[in-house]
Structure formats: structure tokens, C-alpha cells
């Protein structure tokens, strides 16, 4: 098993820098020397732009700007950096003004984020992080200006989490825009945003957000330490980070909840969770995670209680069907036919008499076919994917029956199972249900209802054993927390949910100051 490399955790509040082996030499004073020092790192790249110019109106100091093409906003560079610097009111005097860099930081470029850097390592990192660096002849420090630009996808409705009544915004690949989406919804001054860099080569910016007076400090610190301990080449997507963070990587059950919707993550923050956003992925995830979260959808809270409760309960039922229906069919028709109503048994038995395979093989074949269909539908573009679904669903099923490869009953069972699978609002639990089905089928195929019961017992034991960030995965069912059952299989009215989930470690359990009747009893 591959061991994830971990370096000793850093003390708190220390800026993490992943040096990647760059020397920390101070920059020379002369511009030519700077260029020579940077040449081995920059010259081989053809997407790095260098602009030489003279800084100052009267006293003209040679300067050079270096930036990545299409990462820096060119228009902002010309108007808010180049022009102000070239027109900077520098009067001719003896020698170079010693405090010029500070002056430029405060009143040079007309942009909000200007800082300085003076070592080779810092400057190289800033350049490749997409910042604009301006070197001045005669000064060790360089100006580092954040004028990110480039093309990004526009904010759109997340394709995997559509709602009929909720907001239509989803995350995009840009970290700062994603953070801003959360900020706009959660204007609490106690919302803290911390940033770090993960990956030696990708240097992926990662941000973690939490509400200071709700989230547990231990959870925040634990998360910070785990993120800082990740010492790998690169994090390409949020999914990488999730896999490095989760405690039981071999478990079939997802242990980290992720979503494309900022409104969902805001709700998670308000429950005391910590949200992690990764640059480059239109997804954020939250910890700690409960199994229950994978059965909750935004719609549950935007719709009224009754509807929300019914759909929530339906999802639990759907999960059970998705995992168990083929095994139940197998148990009944292979081991315990006495359990089947006679009027149902007879036509099924007569249809099955045409099929040359045992029930177990028949179920496995159909299950395999449906898995192929699902996978092919995921990869194909929209219209073709739908066509494949229709072909597989209708034509293959009919053809299989006509060719005596399957009985009608098993086609119905597998179809209902597949539909039930896609009721899951979370892709993680959807995948889990697809995989869990198979061992249950094998167990039922070998030992009937006994095998089915044991397999489920195994699943329950496993789920009970999962725990991370001081939070049992199967809470509030086990350990049983009555208060949290208000938002479990059913969803009570929002005005009854006046405490945060006790299953989560939080600093403050009270959601709000309770208003007695919300004006409901007013005449």
C-alpha cells in the first residue's frame, strides 16, 4: 500500500512555503544581475513576458516587469501599473531615493494588492503563481502586484445539483470568485478565510473557511495540520485533496461531503463545519461529515416540511432498494420461493423456465450490462448519452427477454434498482450503492436471506466504525442523538431546528435567539 509522504506538522500560524528546492538567495541590486540570475528559470518558457521600461517622470530608473502571458490582466497592467509607474513623479536627485519601494507600494500602481519580495525563491514563486513582478535597477526588493486576469468560465447552474426553487449559482474554477460567492451569502464578520498552498509543483491554492465562534478549534487545527502535512507533487483537483484527507480510504462510503453549490456550503458553515475550496475545481467540500448528509438535498430545505420529509424518506428507501433489490429477488427466487405470493410466483417461474442461466448468473449479467450502460452514458455528449440510455433501457431489455437471456422480472428488478440508484443526491453515495450491490448479490446468491442479513450487518458494522474529526460517521443513528433526528429521515419545520447538530463538535450549539411564535398566533 502506498504511504502518503508526510512531513512533521508545522507549528500554528506559520506560513507554509513549499520551496520545491529553489535557493533563497537575496536578489542583486543591478538589473542586469537580476536578469542573469532569473534567466535559467525564465528563459526556457515562451509564455513569460518581459517588459523593460523606465520608471519615473524626471528621474528615470530602469525597470523590468515579468509576468505570465494570459494569467495577468494586460489591460490592468498597462493602465494601472505601467502608466502610473512610468509617470511616477520622481525628481532628479543625488543617488536613488532610499524609500522608493515603500513609496511605490503605497502610491505607485493603482491596484489594491501590492507587496514586495527580495529573494530569488519568492520571486520565482510569485511569477509562476500568476503575479506581476517589477524589478528596479539598484533595489534589492521587487514589487509584486496581483492583477489576475485570463479567461474563466462564467458562473452557471451546477449541472449535477439542480434545484427548482433554490439559487442557480455554482462554483467555478477560480478560488477567489468561489470565496466571494460564499462571502456574499455569509456576511458574518466571524467568517474566517485561511489560504495555503498544496503541491510542490502545482502549488495549488487551497482555502479553508470556518465561522470562528461556531466551528470547533480542534477540528480547524486538525484540518490545517492534515493539509499542511500533504507533501506531494501536485493537487490537480479537489478530489485529490479529499483522498489525502479522508481517514478510511479503503471504505466504500464517501467520508467527505462535497458540493458545487455555494448555498449548501454556507449552510454547512453555519452548522459548524469547515469548508475547503481548491483552486481549479468547481467544487468545495466540508468536514466533519455525517453519512446523513449524502441523503440531504438543498430542495429539502427550500420546500415545505411535508414535501421535504417525504422526499428525504424516499431517498432512504431508494438507497435500500438500490443496494438490496437484486439480492432480495435472488433470495426469494433462489432460496425461499415460499415467501413469494403464488400468483406472482407462477408467471415468474414459467418465464424463468425459458432462461438457461441460474438466477444468480442472470442477475449478474443484467447488472453488468446496466453498469456498462451507465458508464457509457456518463462519457458521451448529451444527446448521444440519452440515446444510449433509451437503447439500453428499452431495446436491450426487450431483446434480452425475446432471446431468453433474461426473464421480465429481472429486467424490472434491475431497472428499478438503477432508477433508485440515481435518486441519490450525492455522487459519492450513488457510487457506493452501485458497488455495494455486488457483494450483497453474491452473499444472497450463496446463502439466501441469511447471506443478505449478514451482508447488511457487515455494512452496518462498517458504517458504525467510521469516524473522523471527532465525529462518528453514522451519527445521529449511532451513537443515537435524538435531537439530530429532527433532520434525519424526516425534516421538521425550520423553526423547530433551533440548535446546531449535537453530532458535530461545535463551539456554540444555539442557532438563533428563539422567537416565541414568529408572529404565527397574531390575529
Amino acid at each position: 500500500m502506498r504511504i502518503i509522504p508526510r512531513k512533521p506538522v508545522s507549528p500554528p500560524n506559520q506560513t507554509q512555503s513549499k520551496s520545491g528546492g529553489l535557493p533563497e538567495d537575496p536578489m542583486p541590486l543591478k538589473l542586469n544581475d537580476k536578469n542573469k540570475l532569473l534567466a535559467p528559470y525564465l528563459d526556457k518558457n515562451e509564455d513569460i513576458n518581459k517588459k523593460d521600461f523606465l520608471l519615473g517622470l524626471e528621474l528615470k530608473i530602469p525597470a523590468r516587469s515579468v509576468y505570465l502571458n494570459q494569467v495577468v490582466d494586460k489591460d490592468a497592467f498597462q493602465r494601472h501599473v505601467l502608466e502610473p509607474l512610468m509617470k511616477y513623479p520622481l525628481t532628479v536627485q543625488e543617488g536613488l531615493p532610499p524609500a522608493l519601494i515603500n513609496m511605490l507600494v503605497n502610491s505607485g500602481p493603482s491596484v489594491s494588492q501590492v507587496q514586495t519580495a527580495s529573494t530569488l525563491k519568492e520571486i520565482i514563486h510569485h511569477i509562476f503563481d500568476g503575479l506581476l513582478v517589477v524589478f528596479l535597477d539598484g533595489y534589492q526588493e521587487a514589487l509584486v502586484i496581483d492583477i489576475h486576469g485570463g479567461e474563466f468560465r462564467t458562473v452557471d447552474e451546477p449541472p449535477g445539483e439542480r434545484t427548482t426553487r433554490g439559487p442557480r449559482e455554482g462554483f467555478i474554477e477560480n478560488l477567489d470568485i468561489n470565496i466571494s460567492m460564499i462571502r456574499r451569502r455569509l456576511r458574518d464578520p466571524k467568517l474566517v478565510v485561511k489560504k495555503t498552498i498544496v503541491g510542490r509543483r502545482t502549488r495549488t491554492p487551497v482555502a479553508y473557511l470556518y465561522i470562528e465562534d461556531i466551528a470547533s478549534p480542534e477540528v480547524v487545527e486538525n484540518l490545517r495540520q492534515r493539509i499542511d502535512a500533504i507533501d506531494v507533487d501536485g493537487i490537480v483537483a479537489a478530489g485529490y485533496l479529499e483522498q489525502y484527507l479522508e481517514k478510511s480510504p479503503w471504505s466504500l462510503f464517501p467520508q467527505i461531503f462535497s458540493s458545487e453549490r455555494p448555498d449548501r456550503l454556507v449552510a454547512k458553515l453555519m452548522e459548524g463545519r469547515v469548508v475547503v475550496i481548491t483552486h481549479g475545481t468547481p467544487l468545495a467540500f466540508s468536514v466533519p461529515t455525517l453519512a446523513l448528509e449524502f441523503f440531504q438535498a438543498s430542495e429539502d430545505y427550500y420546500e415545505r416540511t411535508v414535501y421535504g420529509s417525504i422526499t428525504r424518506f424516499t431517498r432512504f428507501l431508494a438507497f435500500f432498494l438500490a443496494v438490496s433489490l437484486p439480492s432480495i429477488y435472488l433470495s426469494l427466487f433462489s432460496f425461499h420461493p415460499e415467501l413469494v405470493p403464488f400468483k406472482l410466483l407462477l408467471p415468474v417461474a414459467q418465464a424463468r423456465s425459458q432462461v438457461p442461466f441460474p438466477v444468480l448468473i442472470e442477475v449478474l449479467i443484467q447488472e453488468f450490462i446496466i453498469q456498462l450502460t451507465i458508464e457509457s452514458g456518463l462519457r458521451l455528449p448529451g444527446a448521444i448519452g440519452q440515446t444510449v440510455g433509451v437503447v439500453a433501457g428499452i431495446i436491450l431489455g426487450q431483446a434480452a427477454i425475446a432471446a431468453n437471456l433474461a426473464s421480465p422480472a429481472v429486467i424490472i428488478v434491475i431497472s428499478v434498482t438503477t432508477i433508485a440508484t440515481f435518486v441519490m443526491p450525492s455522487s459519492g453515495m450513488l457510487l457506493a450503492s452501485r458497488i455495494l450491490r455486488l457483494p450483497l448479490i453474491l452473499a444472497s446468491g450463496a446463502f439466501g436471506i441469511y447471506g443478505f442479513s449478514l451482508a447488511w450487518l457487515f455494512i452496518v458494522i462498517h458504517v458504525c466504525s467510521l469516524e473522523d474529526f471527532q465525529t462518528p460517521y453514522y451519527a445521529p443513528f449511532a451513537p443515537l442523538r435524538w435531537q439530530d433526528l429532527k433532520d434525519a429521515a424526516v425534516r421538521v419545520p425550520l423553526w423547530m431546528m433551533n440548535k446546531r447538530p449535537v453530532s458535530l463538535p461545535v463551539s456554540n450549539l444555539t442557532r438563533e435567539v428563539k422567537s416565541e411564535d414568529y408572529g404565527r398566533n397574531d390575529q
Binding site: P337, E338, L345, L346, A349, Q354, A446, F447
Partner: protein, 376 residues
């Protein structure tokens, strides 16, 4: 280290999955849906050749009906009679004649020939209690004649005879013949109780007719009652029925009818060794026929109620007299009330003939008509 052991253990458990010892695909099964047990007679089918051992003298003929699953089968069902020493043993014999695995859990109906019922049914039924897959909800019936004759009769109006029998013998729709399951037959053999079982015979549009009820003393058939007598037995025994009871409007010499639900209450007292049972039969119903110009008013209803109560009480008393003097068996389940008060003392003698003979059984009937339907 223990993770490797886990993997080994799980793999070992998985290899055992290759067994599937109890797997039996549904299309490879023969599942009888009705059975008939009769005293062994001549063997026209020549199946006696299956009994070859010294302890294999056939004493009972076991007839079963099971559906044919193959689409190419000529008949939808197969009826087969196997003679065997015991009912349980017949299952072994059946495996010599059928390629399919015989599964007993689907049986819905058991018929017994009258001869076998008189010999006692605990012996043929004994094996049914031992097999977990056998349902104790099977309906029982005694056949006037042989059970196999009923099963072998093709029924063209329904799927098969078994399905029809099940529908016929289920809970009474508008008559007083109760449905008796195997469970009830067994429980009714406790001290102070005796079972009753419906009686059928061949005839009628659907080839089977309910003709009455059979009274058992524990597991042996004692006598059969006709449909008229069955009604009063049902009242006395407290079997929930819905029956039409005729009445005569004496002033107009016309006959009407009313539909009643019944219940009973029983109390028991003793003086020394003399037990007095008071059975109260309560009938509640509606008038369904009143061929008279006069409207149904309170006085009229009272008259009808009194008439019916008198009729029912008189017939019930006659039945009790016959029960005590001729049958000498408690077929109305009243002894259990005596047991409920003096169980330790009575449990060994409550089933003696003298006990029911010497008991005093009083009957009182209350009739309540609460409606005359849509018209008065």
C-alpha cells in the same frame, strides 16, 4: 498484520460462497398447491411399486396437484397420487417420479377423505408441523368420499381445482361454515376444545360444494352436520358469521329474512361437581326481506326479534341435547371456560364424555335488528 489475516479470512469466507447448497432456482421446483390424504385403496396407477421395503406397507394415498411450469406442457397442472406408509414418507417416493425438487411450502389446501378422518388426522398431519417451510395457514376440509376424486376433477371455470378450493374454503362470505386452518386444527385439540372442519363433496357448477361441517373429538371425526345444523353450531361455538335467518310474519303468513352477525358470551358456574354453562347468543343485523304492506316499525321489529330469538334458542337447545346425548363431545368450545377457572382440577377430565354429558348448558338468545335497509 491483522489486516492480512482479515483478508485471508474474508477470502476463505468467499470461497465458501461457491457452495450454494440450499440454492434451488424456482423453475426447477415442483410445488404442490393442494393435497389430499385418503386411506389407501387399490392402486390403479401402479405407484405401489415404489414401496418395496418391509416397513413400507402403504396405508395412506397422498394426492397432490402442482402446476406445470413448462410452456409446452399439455395440462396446466399435474395431479399425482402416491401410496405410502405415511404422509411424510410419500415425499421420498415422489422424488422417484418427478425430476423437479419437491417443495412443500406452497400448499394451500389439504383435503382428507372421510374414512381417514374417522381414523384420526394427527398421524397424517404430524409431519406437516415439523417442516418449517410448511405453512400452518393451510385450509382443511373433509371430503364426503375420497379427497383424490375432488383433486382429479378438472375445473374449467378457474385456473385449477386448488385455486378454486382455496377461494371456496376461505373466510365465510355469507354463510356459517368457518375456515379451519392447520394451526386452528392443532390448537383446537388442547384440553377442553375440539376442532370442526368444513365438509365438501363433488357437485355443482364448479364441481365442489360445501355441504356442512364435521365435528371432531380431538383428531377423529365424530359426525357431520348439514348446512342447517351448521348455522346453530356456529352460533353456539361463537364462530363469526354473517347468515340469513328466515322469519315468519304470522299475521300475514309471509316469510321474510334478516341478515345477522353473531357473537356469543359464555359464563360458567359450579355447584360442587355440577357445572352450569350459560351461553348467550347475540345476533345483530338488518332486515333484508319483509314482504308486507305494513311498514317496519318498532313493534314489528320486536315481533320479528322475538320470533327469531325463539327459533334460534329452540334449535340451539336441540343441538345441545344431541351434542350431550349422541355425540358426547364438546363441539361448541365451552369447556375451556371451565378450565379457565379450575384448570388444575379439570384438565385431566374435562375431555371425558361424562363431563359434557353431565354439564348443564343453558342458552339465551338476544336479537337486535337495527335497520330495515333503505325502505321501511
Amino acid at each position: 498484520m491483522h489486516k492480512k489475516l482479515w483478508v485471508v479470512l474474508l477470502m476463505f469466507a468467499c470461497f465458501n460462497l461457491a457452495g450454494c447448497w440450499d440454492s434451488k432456482d424456482v423453475e426447477s421446483l415442483a410445488f404442490p398447491i393442494a393435497a389430499a390424504y385418503d386411506v389407501h385403496q387399490d392402486d390403479p396407477g401402479g405407484m405401489n411399486q415404489l414401496n418395496q421395503g418391509p416397513l413400507e406397507q402403504p396405508e395412506v394415498d397422498v394426492t397432490v396437484i402442482f402446476p406445470n411450469l413448462k410452456a409446452t406442457a399439455r395440462d396446466p397442472v399435474t395431479v399425482e397420487t402416491i401410496p405410502a406408509p405415511t404422509v411424510g414418507y410419500a415425499r421420498e417416493k415422489r422424488s422417484y417420479t418427478s425430476s423437479e425438487l419437491y417443495v412443500t411450502g406452497f400448499n394451500k389446501v389439504i383435503l382428507t377423505g372421510e374414512d381417514l378422518a374417522r381414523q384420526g388426522l394427527n398421524k397424517p398431519f404430524e409431519s406437516l408441523y415439523r417442516f418449517p417451510e410448511v405453512s400452518t395457514n393451510m385450509l382443511l376440509a373433509v371430503v364426503e368420499g375420497r379427497g383424490e376424486d375432488i383433486l382429479k376433477e378438472p375445473n374449467e371455470n378457474t385456473d385449477n381445482m386448488a385455486t378454486y378450493l382455496y377461494a371456496l374454503l376461505r373466510e365465510p362470505k355469507a354463510h356459517s361454515i368457518p375456515a379451519t386452518t392447520l394451526h386452528e386444527f392443532d390448537m383446537s385439540q388442547a384440553a377442553g376444545r375440539n376442532p370442526v372442519v368444513p365438509v365438501i363433496k363433488a357437485g355443482g357448477v364448479n364441481q365442489v360444494v360445501l355441504t356442512g361441517i364435521a365435528i371432531f373429538k380431538k383428531d377423529r371425526l365424530v359426525t357431520k352436520l348439514n348446512l342447517y345444523q351448521t348455522r346453530y353450531l356456529a352460533f353456539l361455538r361463537g364462530i363469526s358469521t354473517q347468515v340469513y335467518i328466515p322469519f315468519v310474519l304470522e299475521d300475514e303468513n309471509a316469510q321474510g329474512a334478516a341478515l345477522f352477525d353473531n357473537e356469543r358470551k359464555v359464563t360458567v358456574e359450579r355447584q360442587g361437581d355440577r357445572f352450569t354453562f350459560k351461553v348467550q347468543v347475540i345476533l345483530k343485523g338488518v332486515i333484508t326481506e319483509h314482504p308486507s304492506e305494513q311498514p317496519v316499525d318498532t313493534a314489528r321489529v320486536k315481533m320479528i326479534e322475538d320470533y327469531i330469538a325463539g327459533q334460534v334458542e329452540s334449535n340451539c337447545r336441540d343441538m345441545i341435547k344431541t351434542m350431550q346425548n349422541e355425540w358426547k363431545v364438546d363441539c361448541i368450545d365451552i369447556n375451556k371456560y371451565a378450565l379457565s377457572k379450575w384448570r388444575r382440577e379439570l384438565k385431566d377430565r374435562v375431555d371425558d364424555e361424562q363431563f359434557i354429558q353431565n354439564a348443564e348448558i343453558q342458552v339465551e338468545t338476544k336479537v337486535k335488528i337495527y335497520s330495515s335497509g333503505e325502505v321501511r
